[in-house]
Amino acid sequence: MIKTENLSKIFRTEEVETKALNNVNLHVKEGEFVAIMGPSGCGKSTLLNIIGLLDNPSEGAYMFNGKEVGKYKEGSRTQERKGNIGFVFQSFNLIDELTVFENVELPLIYLKIKASERKRLVNEVLERMNIGHRTKHFPQQLSGGQQQRVAIARAVVANPKLILADEPTGNLDSKNGMEVMDLLTELNRQGTTIVMVTHSDRDANYAHRIVNLFDGKIVTESRKDPALV
């Protein structure tokens, strides 16, 4: 599903040039659950942004679903992303002005799905996430754990094949964090590919495979025994 070849990303300002990613070769198969780990500033989020088609690499190739998308313009990237990729962030990134229902509905609106169908899909996913009773609330009225479940609901409502999670438990206490990880694991079990950036060893243990990044390079990769998962 995801295949990068010698992927590099360079950020330039007037004075400094920073190589955030340096010849990264990563291969993620459909149905996998991959955790990307590494210290702050090692390039984890940059890699996730490129994988999520939010940004382009400076060099190298990126094949998504068999298509070379590394050179896509923003519009094409959005088209490719729509319905295929869902995002979960550390800071939830919900729209404060929209209710739980409306936040989850957002990707479906841009996919131009009919209102009745939207309603069905949203209610279904909210039930699954166990926040069906909170549909009319605004994000500020919810706890952190509940907000993250709404964010996950939004990420999966369009039934994407890939979910990208950027430190999804970073702002949560351990109980809520575990609940979120359980949800992601459940989604993966149902067939969704998950790539997750994390600092937490415990969270990483939910993954099939852990990729360690350091200074923009993959330094180690460890694969867990599928039988243990």
């Binding site: 999520g52 990707p107 841009y110």
Partner: protein, 796 residues
């Protein structure tokens, strides 16, 4: 999708209330000012455009001699020229010369006696009556809608009988038509009377030329048509006749002599141009402000934009979202604006002395156009910037739209220019109102004590067409000279009165053709003042050489005159005893008995002009100098005397000092208008600064917290935050000063007496703007500075 956009827009307005209210206020205030001023300016610039043949309508005018001013020609019908499609003429009455009697009430409308071709040249619409026949009905009188309402209220005016009286004509008429005068008509009147053969008067001839006729060609043909004109006095040999396009008459000052009556209104192109500049500045200030508010708005919703994009929104979805928000704002503004426009228009009309009645659809169209213009232009910059946003950078770090500072600087610079200009304009007005004019203007009452009976009235009774020539002319003449004696004796017996004089007001001067006997290049129009000997004391003229008039030494109709310094200089007179003057109508041999010091009898835009003073008695216009103040008891006594002489007439009087203030009414009005719109421009700018201060300070809450933890006091923090905002205002002030200085320097060139461009005006404008800005900003910065750092740091 649309519902989603609308829902989101409303939610956005709710969570960014200040921006929303600020945007609405900017649009409503800005567009309201612009729409009102635009309506006024548009009306001025389209003056007389409603006449179908506006391009072919001309007034015929004449110069009695090459150096004369333009005045009315003797010849008033030009039908014999093949170029003329229709020729019409109307009688031009001076102020207060017409009276209309209905039910024992006497009105003094502005009225015009017109011939039967009037409606063939001018396109006034009759709401009642037939244009083609009504002017052939000598019994008819046509009233304007407004005047009819004044006279009869809601009662149907048709068939009502009124008496019309003017110095040269009086008759009994029946209301048979109602005419509509558009607000952009320079010809303004209350009544139209068909001409039943008025023998003489000041006819104003108009012609409608055939399509395609060249003005210059026609002018050449009529050039000498008033020379040696039969029955005319004086006989002219050097006169020039030409046409002036009706369309060019309104803004033209060269015809002031013809336009002394109330039926011709005059415009001032200079003032219209200044208002156009005001419209542009307020438009720019509104655009800048709206642009700034949009930048702040986008900065506050950047996170949302990024989330939308991550969830599949394309750029166009973001634009549509923005578009929907702005259409909602425009729609709401249009409603508020149109309601407030209609509420304010009557006051604006009253204040500007116009009668604008634009139809609702036009008001809405104008308002919506200006709203779209402001929002459209205001959005260009934010939209371009939003296009260059990086989605990635904004997920975690906030990217901010820049450029607010420059816009604030420009906006404030414009507001300060307006402020400085408005202060200078009102300072100039003060100078003109308080300047010593060089003659006494205090405690002088001007009153018309009686109305001379028409000297050759034509009286029509009922429908009978009976023309009666008044053969008792002698009696009338006697009356004219008898009455003054009686009035004078009565007035003299009132204790509150010091001196009584008769004559024309120095403010209501008229021009007569004069020349020195030696002069060979012909007559020229000079300001001429006619009054009785006593007026010299009343006005307190200062004598420079020779003597003043003296009732012992001077007698009626003697050829003796006083002149002012300017006239002496202008006519190149060395020794007044060696020079005599000749008048085109009154003959030769006018001896100059003295020279008076120049005094300002005209608007202070100009220096005193040459003036000839001729002694006369017998004017029904009185000047009464009160002892020390304008006491009510004496006014009542005069009123009673007036009633005795003129039963059923309205007693009208003015004080000369008020007449002088009236000269500056237009300036006063404009000065107030400038001030009001300047304040609105400042308010709009303050809305922008307030919003920016609110959002920028919120962004710096963490910085404030860190500084406070490290020992900064509230004052230091406020100083730091305020400094950043006030810096822009100071830069704006520095830009504004030279621009305003230059503009005002230019403007003051219009005046003979100029107010100084004092430094304190600039300082005042600067300090005022700074104080307002400081208050606006401090409201926000104090909140930020006073916040507990524990809270602000935890929030982050």
């Amino acid at each position: 999708m649309l519902i989603h956009y609308i829902k989101l827009a409303i939610r956005n307005f709710r969570s960014n209330k200040v921006i929303f209210v600020g945007s609405l206020a900017t649009l409503c205030l800005g567009a309201l000012c612009i729409s009102l001023l635009f309506s006024y300016v548009y009306n001025e610039l389209t003056m007389d455009d409603f006449h179908n043949n506006k391009k072919d309508i001309y007034m015929v005018t004449m110069k009695r001699s090459p150096k004369s001013e333009w005045s009315l020609p003797f010849k008033n019908n030009y039908d014999e020229y093949p170029e003329v499609k229709n020729s019409t003429s109307l009688i031009n009455f001076e102020k207060d010369k017409i009276r209309l009697k209905y039910n024992n009430d006497i009105y003094t409308p502005t009225g015009v006696v017109v011939d039967s071709s009037f409606f063939k040249v001018f396109n006034f619409e009759l709401t009642i009556g037939d244009k083609n026949t009504i002017l052939n009905d000598y019994e008819a009188i046509i009233l304007t809608e407004d005047f009819s309402e004044k006279l009869f209220g809601d009662v149907n005016p048709i068939g009502k009988e009124v008496d019309f009286e003017s110095p040269i004509y009086q008759g009994h008429h029946i209301v048979k038509g109602i005419v509509k005068i558009p607000s952009n008509s320079s010809l303004k009147f209350d009544v139209l009377i068909p001409n039943a053969g008025v023998p003489y008067g000041s006819w104003v001839p108009f012609v409608r030329l055939k399509k395609g006729t060249h003005k210059s060609h026609f002018d050449e043909k009529i050039k000498k048509s008033n020379n040696n004109y039969p029955y005319a006095f004086p006989k002219l040999t050097e006169s020039t006749t030409k046409t002036v396009k009706l369309k060019d008459l309104y803004f033209n000052n060269n015809f002031s002599r013809i336009k002394t009556s109330q039926i011709f209104s005059s415009g001032n192109r200079n003032n219209v141009d200044i208002l156009i500049i005001f419209i542009f500045i307020i438009l720019l200030v509104s655009i800048f402000n709206f642009s700034n508010l949009q930048i702040v708005n986008i900065n506050s919703i950047i996170k949302n934009i990024v989330i939308f994009k991550i969830n599949g929104a394309l750029k166009k979805d973001i634009y549509y979202q923005n578009l929907v928000e702005n259409i909602i704002i425009i729609g709401m503004s249009a409603i508020i604006l149109t309601i407030s426009y209609n509420l304010i228009l009557p006051f604006f009309n009253g204040f500007m002395n116009v009668n604008l009645k634009p139809p609702f659809s036009k008001v809405l169209l104008i308002n919506v156009s200006f709203l779209i213009l402001i929002t459209g232009v205001g959005l260009i910059y934010p939209i371009i910037k939003i296009n260059h946003f990086s989605t990635v950078l904004n997920i975690n770090k906030k990217q901010q739209l820049k450029g607010k500072q420059i816009i604030v600087v420009l906006q404030y610079a414009l507001a300060v220019i307006l402020l400085i200009s408005s202060i200078i304009v009102s300072k100039q007005l003060q100078l003109m109102l308080s300047k010593d004019l060089g003659f006494n203007t205090n405690n002088i009452m001007r009153v018309k004590m009686y109305y001379p009976i028409s000297q050759a009235p034509i009286i029509r009774i009922g429908s009978e067409e009976k023309r009666v020539t008044n053969k008792k002319g002698i009696t009338n003449k006697k009356e004219i000279f008898d009455k003054p004696e009686y009035i004078k004796n009565q007035l003299a017996s009132f204790s509150g009165i010091k001196t009584i004089g008769q004559g024309r007001s120095p403010l209501d001067i008229y021009q007569v053709e004069w020349k020195t006997m030696q002069e060979t290049s012909g007559f020229e129009s000079l300001n001429t003042l006619l009054f009785s000997t006593e007026c010299q004391d009343i006005f307190g003229f200062e004598l420079l050489e020779g003597r003043l008039f003296d009732n012992e030494m001077d007698h009626d109709q003697e050829h003796k005159i006083l002149i002012n310094e300017a006239a002496k200089k202008h006519l190149g007179i060395e020794d007044i005893s060696m020079t005599t003057l000749e008048n085109i109508s009154w003959g030769k041999g006018f001896k100059i008995i003295g020279v008076v010091k120049d005094f300002n009898y005209e608007h202070l835009a100009s220096k005193p002009k040459p003036l000839i003073i001729y002694r006369t008695r017998g004017s029904s216009n009185y000047f009464i100098l009160f002892h020390n103040n304008q006491n009510q008891e004496t006014i009542t006594q005069i009123h009673e005397l007036f009633n005795e002489l003129n039963p059923n007439q309205a007693f009208n009087y003015t004080f000369l000092s008020d007449d002088i203030a009236t000269l500056y009414k237009k300036e006063k009005r404009l000065s107030t208008i400038y001030m009001v719109f300047t304040i609105i421009a400042l308010v709009i700018s303050a809305i922008g600064l307030f919003t920016i201060a609110l959002y920028d300070t919120q962004r710096r809450v963490k910085e404030v917290g860190v500084r406070k933890v490290n020992g900064a006091t509230i004052h230091e923090i406020m100083f730091m935050l305020n400094k950043d905002f006030l810096k822009w205002v100071i830069i704006a002030f520095l830009i504004a000063c030279p621009v305003a200085y230059y503009a005002m320097h230019k403007w003051l060139e219009n005046f003979a007496y100029k107010t100084a461009l004092s430094w304190w005006v600039f300082a005042l404008a600067g300090v005022f703007t700074m104080v307002i800005a400081l208050l606006t900003v401090s409201w926000q910065t104090y909140k930020a500075a006073a916040q507990n750092p524990v809270k602000s740091l935890r929030d982050e």
